[in-house]
């Protein structure tokens, strides 16, 4: 639970920890992150495996041999692709099941006031040097900073497979990306709910690397969030985070009318 109202009572902000259970898996996102174009992955009515089934249907339609693998009706005599995508589905299942026990869903967050009462004007000013972020935050009197990570377990799995079985590494990359984005979405929803409860509106979250907000604000953000000590996010000299499936972001908060 995020008590935004409490955060607003304080003059001096500190970073807080929260953790989540595994968010529901979105297989379509995994496919998208692994290189299958979004055009194949629009929302469908195919249920939890919808994206794969849609993929099958599209292919069958294009092929024109008259079968529809998405409906489990099996292939016709001369179907050129039979079963291939089921191998992919199995691979995704396997990667999801081996990696699942190794994810942790951890977040550090803190409030940053943007106006007169800001307790850390240097950080605020550094962030607002980015015109794109400034635009994103227009109308906001404050912002929630957060760092999220799903842990280093996935990095070991990726490394294990990247030289010997790159298909698995690719899927694991995609699974990791989907997991951390899922965590961010879950947290973002809580923030939005908490904001709504006190008459505030949230803006879309914004991360270093988007637009003109450079990666070199990462050390500042991670320090503000005590993310290294509390949830183990470290920065390399190239400013990339380890564990690699980690995200830092800023959610603008509009003052109540």
């Amino acid at each position: 639970m995020i008590h935004l109202d409490d955060l607003y009572l304080s003059d001096r902000q500190t970073a807080f920890y929260t953790e989540y259970d595994a968010p529901p898996v979105r297989r379509g996102e995994i496919l998208r992150y692994s290189g299958i174009p979004a055009s194949f992955l629009a929302p469908t009515d195919f249920g939890p495996d919808g994206s794969i089934l849609r993929l099958l249907r599209e292919r069958c339609a294009r092929c024109g041999k008259g079968c529809d693998l998405s409906m489990n009706q099996g292939a016709t005599e001369d179907c050129p692709t039979d079963g291939e995508d089921l191998a992919l589905r199995d691979l995704i299942d396997e990667m999801l099941s081996i990696s699942a026990p190794h994810f942790t869903y951890r977040i550090m967050y803190r409030l940053l006031r943007l106006g007169e009462t800001c307790d850390n004007p240097q950080v605020r000013d550094r962030l607002l040097q980015s015109a794109d972020l400034k635009k994103n935050l227009s109308g906001c009197d404050s912002a929630l900073l957060f760092a999220a990570t799903v842990g280093s377990g996935i990095d070991r799995f990726i490394r294990r497979f990247e030289h010997t079985e790159p298909a698995k590494a690719l899927i694991l990359q995609a699974v990791g990306a989907e997991r951390v984005e899922g965590l961010c979405d879950r947290f973002n929803r809580d923030v939005t709910d908490a904001a709504t409860a006190i008459g505030r509106k949230t803006h879309p979250r914004f991360s270093p690397g988007y637009g003109d907000l450079p990666l070199d604000v990462q050390p500042l953000l991670l320090t503000m969030l005590d993310a290294e000590r509390r949830i183990g996010i470290t920065l390399g000299s190239n400013l990339l985070m380890s564990p690699s499936k980690s995200v830092t972001a800023i959610i603008g908060l509009e003052a109540p009318n």
Binding site: S10, A75, S152, R156, P166, S242, S244
Partner: protein, 812 residues
């Protein structure tokens, strides 16, 4: 009085939180608290003194983040000496009676170690050493390493402490709510490693309150034979009425600590959110308690970065396959530095069910220390099994132990004086669980009595080096019964006596026993059952032997080591699965998949490759090789299948995951073909031109480059992969050396595009003939033109097509 002497009969009380008190005194978020040692010595001394006054025995200097990555050498020296002076002044002015010590506080460097981060292990050791030497020079009484959330980083800090001081060292790790370190280690794994390296007290601090850490503490107390410490937070922080408050108050905190002290914890204090009031409540409470004696738990442990393996009544399987002896393909892999092959051998054995991997990479013509270090680092990056370092080269053994992330098994020492005096000091320093062969200057004794006496001698000598019996495992040597039919009996009796009279562990390389006999598996597995019955604790063995695995699982089920026979049942399930698989392999022409899913005009092998069915592709190839020419298979089956997928990819009917799955299936087929002609030059068809590929300097992600490599190799190109983060000079040097036709450069980040440009410039000067293709997440045609590349390749197939083009132009 020395802290260790004091600790023998007393609880040791540490201090509480520093950060929150400094913030109350005006420290601004983002400001380095370590600088306050110089700018606000009065504040620091006051806080230290208030802890001593509350009953603290050991105050930690205000040096948590004092390291050479945050401060230059001159400032670091000032910080450490001022920090000690502040603590020492507080000690001298405190009015409370009692023993008072000053500990040099060492926190993590804030950088993740390679291979997951970019800080090399030895650089981390060197960085910790700097601060530690300054602390020792200042005059601290002990070193306190704390809040470490990674086992490898913890090892670096402890090693630095041991190499740069003779002071006592306390080590404390930060556990998450899942009871593990951030990088996965459970408490028992940390106990194994830290005790092996002779830390003087070990335990946990920060992250959680005392209640949430109780299971972590119980695990420490069950495994540790040294004093256990806890320095928890005042529960969890939350924001209340605009202030950060912790949810456990001093009285409740003291009650929670009381429970932990009653369980056996000997050293305690507080971390975030605790104040002198908390410490006072704890010391007041503890006056009524008597310390629980610290006892030797006698547990034989080894560990990886996350796991612990215990030796005793439940037999441990040690996979023997990472070893060049008698293996042509493995020797070839060592000579050509084919680490992937070696890793593959390790991972396959892990899948087959071993708990430890033996690592032997000794060949006369290679640099064994360098190879062992490389293999250890790579293996521990991908496998969570503990390793057994198997070498007779003392330098290799030392370097391997040094870079190992955990407590390793060491293979081996024996009763020879010279060998013991070389191996034991390494084990004493780095920790280890040592295989001791019962042979000495006079060779291998024939009888069990003499082997028993050598074991006794080894135990005595090890003790002189401070190595306990629990850290030895005796190998009484299995000898061939084909040479002497009494040989197996001598070994069986030796196992029995060492286990039951010396109460020590035993291990055997069991397969030697059947050397020279037909149907060796029958003899070996029966012998294995006999020695297990006599109490064998571990076997170095071949996990692909079904007979051996049968004995292992059946033995465990019969000896009440397998609850509900669950492991046995799971194992038999894998056996059943293997049967139908071998049946399909036996009749590839009948192609079952084609019949279930409609006939396809593709041949079974093409079909398997196109669909990405790896095992199947390998099995069909093996079958076809019986009566087909290998090169013919490449030309008529594998390459055409790859083309189908490649064209599909170009037409966007097949996507990256499927392309990769097909490529891997083709690779499995190639492996079969290679195995068929191991010595030949033309391994997979006529060699095509050389392509050097690399991810450029500064860029550390290389999955895209690996994909390009795989696909190029599939198409028969001679790919030299230089890896990631490769300096321009190295790429140029290699391109010149092999006279490469094409260089492929990959960059993930815009920030490394300049490194790419620099590489291209250098190539134009030193290797003017070479074509340069660029790709990667940030690359565009525009960038490519700007930096003077010959070609922008948008994906792996694009690179193949370009390589073919370059090759054709060379031929023309």
């Amino acid at each position: 009085m020395n802290i260790l002497e004091y600790m023998k009969d007393h609880f040791v009380f540490l201090d509480g939180g520093m950060g929150t008190l400094l913030q109350e005194a005006g420290l601004v978020p983002g400001e380095y608290p370590e600088r306050w040692n110089m700018s606000h010595p009065d504040v620091i001394q006051r806080i230290h003194r208030s802890y001593y006054d509350a009953g603290t025995n050991v105050v930690l200097t205000n040096t948590f983040g004092a390291n050479c990555f945050k401060f230059d050498d001159a400032e670091l020296a000032k910080i450490v000496s001022a920090a000690y002076a502040n603590a020492d002044a507080a000690r001298k002015t405190s009015t409370r009676e009692g023993e008072k010590f000053v500990a040099l506080d060492i926190g993590p460097l804030g950088r993740l170690l390679a291979p997951y981060g970019d800080l090399e292990f030895e650089d981390a050791v060197a960085a910790y050493a700097k601060t530690i030497r300054l602390g020792v020079a200042a005059g601290v009484d002990l070193i306190f390493i704390e809040t470490m959330n990674d086992s490898y980083d913890t090892k670096a800090a402890l090693l630095a402490a041991k190499e740069n001081s003779d002071l006592p060292v306390f080590v404390s790790n930060a556990y998450g709510s899942d009871g593990k370190l951030m990088t996965g280690a459970r408490p028992a794994a940390m106990v194994a490693m830290l005790e092996g390296m002779h830390a003087d007290a070990i335990g946990a601090n920060c992250s959680l309150g005392p209640k949430q850490l109780i299971d972590v503490m119980k695990e420490y107390l069950a495994y540790a034979s040294v004093p256990v410490l806890i320095k928890p937070n005042a529960g969890l922080p939350r924001s209340e009425d605009g202030k950060t408050v912790y949810d456990v108050l001093p009285e409740e905190f003291a009650e929670d600590i009381k429970e932990l002290l009653t369980l056996g914890v000997r050293v305690t204090g507080g971390c975030c959110g605790t104040t002198p009031d908390y410490i006072r409540a704890v010391t007041d409470m503890a006056q009524a308690l008597t310390p629980v004696p610290v006892t030797d738990k006698g547990r034989s442990l080894i560990s990886s970065y996350t796991k612990v393996v215990e030796f005793g009544s439940d037999p441990i399987l040690i996979g023997e396959r990472i070893n060049p002896t008698g293996k042509k393909r493995f020797k070839e892999a060592l000579r050509s530095n084919d680490i992937d092959y070696i890793l593959g051998e390790g991972l396959k054995q892990q899948d087959a069910g071993v708990q430890v991997l033996d690592v032997n990479v000794g060949l006369p013509e290679i640099d064994e220390p360098a190879m062992l270090v490389n293999v250890v680092k790579e293996l521990q990056a991908v496998s969570d099994l503990p390793l057994q370092l198997d070498t007779t080269d003392i330098s290799a053994m030392e370097q391997g132990l040094r870079c190992y992330n955990g407590k390793a098994m060491v293979n081996s020492v024996n009763g020879k004086q010279e060998v013991m005096d070389a191996v034991f000091p390494l084990v004493a320093k780095y920790g280890g669980f040592v295989v001791a062969l019962t042979l000495d200057e006079d060779g291998i004794p024939e009888d069990a009595d003499s082997r028993f006496r050598i074991a006794q001698k080894i135990i005595a000598r090890a003790a002189e080096y401070g190595i306990a019996r629990k850290d030895l495992i005796f190998d009484p040597l299995a000898m061939a019964i084909s040479a002497d039919t009494k040989a197996a009996l001598a070994t069986i009796h030796s196992v029995d006596r060492i286990r039951h009279e010396l109460h020590a562990n035993t291990s055997l390389g069991v397969s030697n026993v059947s050397f020279g006999l037909p149907e060796r598996n029958i003899v070996t597995s029966t012998f294995f059952a006999s020695v297990l019955e006599r109490g064998l604790s571990a076997a170095i063995m071949n996990p692909y032997s079904v007979e051996m695995m049968n004995v292992y699982y059946a033995f465990r089920a019969l000896h009440d080591l397998d609850e509900n026979c669950a492991d046995y049942i799971t194992y038999t399930g894998t056996l059943e699965k293997m049967v139908p698989q071998s049946q399909t392999i036996a009749k590839p022409e009948g192609d079952s998949t084609a019949s279930t899913s409609g006939t396809s005009d593709l041949s079974p092998l093409k079909n398997a490759i196109v669909r990405g069915l790896k095992e199947k592709a390998g099995a069909i190839t093996a079958e076809l090789l019986v009566d087909h020419d290998p090169l013919d298979l490449v030309q008529t089956e594998i390459i055409p299948a790859l083309d189908i997928v490649g064209q599909g990819f170009e037409k966007k009917t097949v996507f990256l995951p499927q392309l990769l799955m097909a490529a891997e299936s083709a690779k499995t087929a190639f492996e079969q073909i290679k195995a068929k002609m191991p010595s030949s030059e033309n391994e997979s068809g006529p060699k095509r031109c050389s392509v050097v590929i690399a991810t450029v300097h500064g860029d550390i992600h290389d999955i895209g480059k690996n994909i390009v490599k795989l696909i190029l190799e599939n198409y028969g190109f001679d790919v030299i992969d230089l890896g990631k983060d490769v300096p321009a000079e190295v790429i140029v040097e290699k391109a010149v050396e092999v006279h490469a036709a094409l260089v492929g450069l990959s960059a993930l980040m815009t920030t490394t595009v300049p490194a790419m440009e620099e590489t291209i410039k250098l190539l134009r000067v030193d290797a003017p003939w070479v074509k340069v293709a660029v790709g990667g997440a940030v690359m565009t045609q525009e960038y490519s033109d700007q930096i003077g590349a010959d070609k922008y390749c948008k994906d792996a197939m694009d690179t193949v097509r370009y390589a073919e083009e370059v090759e054709a132009s060379l031929g023309a």
